[in-house]
């Protein structure tokens, strides 16, 4: 071969794409909209719409061209914008709802399936704009198709805003009720974060952070199927050696993201931000993080040992990926969503995996309790308490954690919720019914941990 790539290497790459679901999960364009503020919701929304269409008008076309030319599937093209609560502070709830509608229209106009940034950062307290935005979330998520929302309620540096945790329990319930006809799908577009990443390309939690440039291209790669096949090849290998195999595989997967990011950045004339090293599963068979853990030797994910296996996998993916990309960022860790991973669903059905074990697993990976359906009659206090637990894990471990729960209206444990597409389907999982209400209703702020005082 003219550039000395062996035939085996070529066939390896071809196999990754053809049969192991190697793809670029998302090209996400971050757009600053801080200059779009006007006197009311309508004028602000219009200005945001115009800016998105101007900046991202060629995003989908460019993504499709790169896919065709390079022969690598690029599944999603998406947009993230500056947290709307910051941009529209001083406007009221109805103005926020209007802005949400303009965002939805802009996303439809440029052809992206999701737009993130209907967001507020309230880890230390609320501005008036934050309160109005959060009040608007249930209406925006029930009346738009593509808008995604996120609220950051805690950081390692600020502690946990328990007023916000309390409020988000109610907001999630309200969002579920307003989208009851579709199993509470509104909640699939709402993430509650601790230590949110400003350059995360993955939905529903993507937003364009305050420290970000005018516009940027962030890439999310995906390769659970590729890692799965690599692990399956070596059933006898000890874990140190297996970590090395995973590292090498993650390197190759991430290089593809790096290449696509550079090309997209050049063609769109927008600076390249980061590659997110996450292992993001899809409902497709074999594209599952759960299957990787099982191929490492667990009968089912959720068995004792799952946390250790996931910790090793997550770390090996980062080590391999970090070498492959010039800029790593975003969430960068294995995702363990239930509805989007066929292996996770099977483990729940087999009785191997429950919310408590998932919570433990989130201590060692990205991102949190993700896409989990719970009974529709779960109280808002219990939802708030689940958020508080996840936020505590993130705060103490200096990592991003998130909660994306769907209290499916009218559904009970064992029922199914169906969202379709990438969001998948999920069995309704059991939640501990003992009441945390006394704790949650205290509200206030949990102070930042001692190890945040590192100056």
């Amino acid at each position: 071969m003219p550039f000395h790539i062996s035939k085996d290497e070529i066939m390896e790459t071809v196999r990754m794409v053809q049969s192991e679901n190697l793809d670029i999960r998302t090209i996400t364009m971050g757009i600053n909209i801080q200059d779009c503020r006007h006197r009311d919701g309508n004028a602000t929304g219009k200005s945001i719409y115009d800016k998105i269409v101007k900046y991202a008008g060629n995003l989908v076309k460019t993504g499709d061209e790169i896919e065709k030319e390079y022969g690598i599937p690029i599944i999603n093209k998406r947009i993230s914008v500056t947290p709307v609560a910051n941009v529209a502070d001083g406007l009221n709830r109805d103005d926020m709802i209007t802005i949400g509608k303009y965002m939805d229209e802009a996303a439809r106009e440029v052809g992206v399936n999701f737009i993130g940034g209907f967001s507020a950062l309230v880890h230390k307290g609320f501005t008036h704009g934050d309160k109005d935005l959060i009040a608007a979330i249930p209406y925006v998520l029930s009346n738009t198709e593509r808008v995604c929302s996120s609220v950051n309620v805690a950081t390692t540096k600020a502690g946990i805003n328990m007023d916000a945790v309390y409020l988000m329990g109610n907001t999630i319930k309200q969002t579920a009720e307003l989208t009851a006809d579709n199993d509470g799908i509104g909640c699939a577009k709402l993430v509650v974060f601790c230590n949110a990443a400003e350059d995360n390309p993955f939905m529903a939690g993507a937003f364009h952070g305050i420290g970000e440039p005018e516009s940027t291209i962030n890439i999310g790669v995906s390769g659970p199927g590729v890692v799965l096949n690599a692990v399956r090849k070596y059933p006898e290998m000890d874990l140190g050696e297996l970590a090395n195999v995973i590292k090498k595989t993650a390197f190759k997967v991430t290089r593809t993201g790096e290449l696509v990011g550079r090309v997209a950045s050049k063609r769109l004339g927008v600076p390249f931000g980061i590659v997110d090293l996450s292992l993001a599963p899809t409902p497709a068979i074999g594209d599952s993080v759960a299957d990787i853990l099982q191929s490492m030797g667990l009968e089912r994910v959720g068995a004792h040992g799952s946390t250790a296996a996931l910790a090793m996998l997550n770390d090996a993916v980062k080590k391999g990926g970090a070498m492959a990309s010039s800029y790593v960022g975003g969430l960068s860790g294995a995702f363990i969503p239930v509805s989007e991973d066929a292996g996770m669903i099977d483990a729940v059905l087999a009785g191997a995996l429950n919310i408590d074990k998932l919570e433990a697993m989130t201590c060692v990976c990205s991102v949190g309790l993700d896409m989990i359906a719970i009974p529709g009659d779960t109280s808002s206090e219990i939802i708030s308490a689940i958020i508080a637990d996840e936020a505590a894990i993130g705060m103490i471990n200096r990592k991003t954690t998130a909660v994306r729960l769907i209290p499916a209206p009218g559904k009970k444990v064992g029922d199914w919720v169906e969202f379709g597409g990438l969001l998948g389907r999920a069995p309704v999982m059991k939640v501990n019914q003992f009441s945390p209400a006394g704790f949650i209703n205290r509200r206030g702020r949990i102070p930042a941990p001692i190890h945040s005082l590192n100056n």
């Binding site: 003219p2 022969g71 190759k252």
Partner: protein, 93 residues
């Protein structure tokens, strides 16, 4: 980074008469130059890897892929067409 115009074409399937002729005829019609061919047959299973240059071709990569995949399908073969940079990036630092 320079975006090159070289592609890697792979062809997989059961061996039969005329595979290389069919593929290379399509390439010739579209002014795509073959730089390298490597082909093996193992127990009747045919594997070919081609490196081609399409800098003088008027054809788009997407169109060329469709032509080759369609021709491959008629012969019961699986054809892939990818930009060489994917392989360079993945296997070389």
């Amino acid at each position: 980074m320079e975006e090159g115009k070289k592609l890697i074409i792979t062809v997989l399937g059961y061996d039969r008469v005329g595979i290389i002729a069919t593929i290379s005829a399509i390439l010739a019609e579209n002014q795509v130059n073959i730089l390298d061919i490597s082909q093996t047959i193992l127990q009747g299973f045919f594997t070919m890897v081609m490196v081609v240059d399409m800098s003088n071709s008027k054809c788009e990569i997407g169109q060329l892929r469709e032509l080759l995949v369609e021709a491959g399908r008629n012969l019961g073969l699986e054809v892939t067409v990818q930009h060489e940079d994917i392989f360079k990036f993945m296997h070389r630092i």
